[in-house]
């Protein structure tokens, strides 16, 4: 199908009355890994929240479709059920709601009745094991008192349990030590190696290129001041590592 993909066209969006995204065109094809890089404040999270429907963010122009289905008219839960996933840069803590119960509710919402409770538990413990998480984790309250690394592992656990069609990872790498970073890379790799996850398309938002050593991107976009300043291959990430964003800004900023 020609309309497959997470397709963003002419997207303008903002928060609290400020326009942040000034026309974004970007398509993530099924099974492909796109990296979205850019300095702090360039609008990467704004793009993630506009696509997933955060109530504080407002889209003023443009379109976003998921395999042909319009996303922007849907409530956030419907966007998720359409197959969109966001790994949060700062996941919310929800005291009193246990990780296992939350994941069960989420899986049930996205794929009603596809797993018996026993099959769900088996899958959960298998994925937790893969991420090096202790089983006790399942009984803890959602992100409540979690360390930064634990929060990001939980986001990856959700990715593994929900197997979305398109996953946006918003700075899942930030603040992680080398081991945790490797676990994130492994989580993405194992999803892509599975039958159900081989077609998942990724938009990996990152400030630093180091995560891309674990997850090799097919395409790299650089966002500056709410615009995609340039798009290229993996070599673009290396260039940013070497020269920094200022070089990109100097070359493309004026155009953007």
């Amino acid at each position: 199908m020609s309309d497959r993909g997470l397709r963003i066209a002419g997207l303008r969006a903002g928060v609290a009355g400020n326009e942040i995204l000034k026309g974004i065109d970007l398509t993530v094809e099924p099974g492909k890994i796109h990296a979205l890089m850019g300095p702090n404040g360039s609008g990467k999270s704004t793009l993630a929240f506009s696509l997933t429907g955060h109530p504080h963010y407002h889209v003023s122009a443009g379109t976003a479709t998921l395999d042909g289905e319009d996303l922007l008219g849907l409530s956030p839960d419907k966007r998720a059920r359409a197959g969109l996933f966001l790994s949060f840069q700062y996941p919310a803590a929800i005291p009193g709601v246990k990780v296992a119960n939350f994941l069960r509710a989420a899986r049930q919402a996205e794929r009603p009745g596809d797993l018996t409770p026993a099959a769900f538990r088996t899958m959960l413990f298998e994925k937790m094991d893969l991420l090096g998480m202790d089983t006790a984790f399942a009984g803890r309250y959602l992100n409540d008192g979690f360390s930064g690394g634990e929060k990001k592992r939980l986001e990856m656990l959700q990715l593994a349990m929900l197997v979305p069609k398109y996953a946006i990872l918003d700075e899942t790498d930030s603040g992680l030590d080398v081991d945790a970073l490797k676990d994130v890379g492994d989580a993405v790799a194992s999803l892509r190696a599975s039958d159900e996850g081989r077609d998942t398309g990724f938009l990996i938002i990152t400030h630093y290129p180091r995560i891309l050593q674990h997850i090799a991107p097919d395409v790299v976009h650089v966002m500056i001041d709410g615009r995609i300043a340039t798009t290229g291959g993996a070599e673009l990430a290396h260039r940013i590592e070497r020269d920094g964003y200022d070089a990109i800004r100097a070359e493309f900023g004026a155009l953007a």
């Binding site: 429907g53 956030p76 839960d77 996941p91 509710a105 959700q158």
Partner: protein
Amino acid sequence: MPESALADDTLATAAEAFGDLPIARAERRTALERFRSTASGRERPGRYWKLDADILAPSADRSHVAAGSVEIRNPDPRVVACDLLVAAEQHAARLAAVLGSTGVGTTKFGALATAFARLGALIYVPAGMAVAEPIEVRYVVTPGAAAYPTTLVWLEAGAHATVIERLDGGADAFVAATCELRVDAGAELTFAGVQRLAADATLVATRAAVPQRDATVIWSNADLGAALSSWETTVTLGARGADAQLATIFFPVGTQHVEAISSVDHAAGDATSETLVKSAAAGRGQARYLGNIRIAAHAQGTDASLRDDALLLSKNAHIDSVPALEIAANDVRAFHGATVGAIDDDEIFYMQSRGIERQAAERMIALGFFEPALARFPTEALRDELRSALAEKVG
């Protein structure tokens, strides 16, 4: 209506009719006098303190003796757990040792309940005895009645026990309940109160605990029923090493109204207390909570905390939370934290981003909100019962 309009004669006649057990008529008269002459402490003006002695006094047609029933489940024959009348006949000395031991009877509504004392339970656990299974007391208030359930618990030194008290029934009833918990040195009492009176009942509850040296009281209350529920819970830590862990849940919905006061008095040093309040309101539900922590000048080494979170689930719901810390000692640790507000947008969005519908997300978050307080209640069966009751209220 002036307070004299209480129909003194009617009240006095009604009290006389309760007879000489478990307390003598003369004591009933004295208690009634105290009820009349004592201020409730809530007379100060303000739109939330609805409690008004005039509207709460039992009218003549309500004052009948059989105002409700009590069911007692005692898992251990070594423990005394009996009806107050049986206690008066068979355990008079023990009854006397706990009735009036916590000061409940000196309060206005404690005095009223004393004047009409009859429905109630005495629980006595001898020194050093540990009772594993919970002892259960359940009151069912007669519709339209005025009822005065009195729960008296005495744990002798070193005893361990769990008591679950339930307050049910009471359509259109007036209930003045009291509870006295005497916990002797080194004893540990876990006490859970579950109030699920009918939606049009009126409740005034006065409860107090006095843990002695190195004694612990783990006291949880779930206040769920009644149109107006007005209660005051007081713990007096009068000896070193005493420890109180209070957890409270209340949740007015519809037009329910809650007036709650919890007080922890650190009257001796080196005692610890932890107060946790989780309240929610929906519909036009209203609540006012006053959390007192008082640390006396000589109570050095006190460690006291008060955590109070209120969740507003509709725009017409209202919860007023007033912490009041009076600290006269200097070498103490005292913590106080409070929040009040609606469910956070980011929490709802986080759940929605996982495919969960907004309403389901709100429900999970609201129910989760109570969990830290629920965790303090004894037995998984009771916690599950409370979870279902709360789920019904969330709607």
